[in-house]
Symmetry: C2
Subunit: 126 residues, 2 copies
DNA sequence: GTAATTGCAAACGGTTTGCGATCTC
DNA sequence: GAGATCGCAAACCGTTTGCAATTAC
């Protein structure tokens, strides 16, 4: 049975209050302000539990560190190639394309992920 | 200046003759048939050089090993969630969407990546 | 009470890197 | 001969895991 620990709550609360798509390390650093002796193992384990429960989503298809966000409607991300920042896009996920691929290939398609790459506004000016 | 070594040629040749999107480890294993004492460091260094030169493309998915393919026209990939296999899709990359995002956000958008997830034909039957 | 969760530290796996030797141009 | 590349082994870094102690229910 799933339990309610202050560690898990702190991680969820943090993710609920940010749009910055933090890495596990950033989460660890921030949560330590409240719970100084929390361990990284606990952070990783909780992120796994929360993902399995569908409470959060793991972002990233480019092999870098994983980033985490609260589960929300399916949407795309933009990744700045200079500063590494990840930004939510309004563009809604195109669900029709999954069916199109499924029909064409005979595969079962559950979902897709798209990430855009380029320079964010700040980084264009430097 | 870039040199032409048998190690680099063997890696390129292997990638030219496969559609299997091998991992660095698989490349290492296969190339060792020809060059028994090639090292993993050399494989990784060459894959980096070849990527920088635009000769190959890295397919990176969070949490999984990187896979490599010969550079070709922009296209999407399907990853089977059961066997882990990566398959090229015919679906051409939608270039219009990059401009759409750029206009909407003010970001510079160089490209995007899309990956589909589900079950390939073989894995559906098991 | 018992099973989930924790902190700690060690292990893991893919990838990178420092080195002195070797090879390509 | 200069500089790129090599093989080797150690280091790196994000993540996972084993364990005994603690905690939620």
């Amino acid at each position: 049975m799933r339990r309610d620990t202050k560690q898990r709550e702190a991680i969820l609360k943090l993710l609920n209050n940010t749009r910055s798509h933090p890495t596990a390390d950033q989460i660890y650093d921030e949560v330590r302000a409240d719970i100084p002796n929390i361990s990284k193992g606990t952070v990783y384990r909780n992120l796994q539990v929360l993902e399995n429960d569908g409470a959060i989503t793991v972002i990233g298809i480019n092999g870098a560190q994983s980033r985490y966000e609260i589960k929300q409607n399916s949407h795309y991300h933009f990744r700045c190639e200079k500063c590494g920042g990840v930004i939510d896009l309004d563009e809604p996920a195109d669900k029709g394309i999954d069916k199109k691929i499924a029909t064409r290939t005979g595969f079962t398609v559950s979902h897709h992920r798209t990430e855009f790459y380029g320079l964010c506004k700040d980084c264009q000016q430097k």
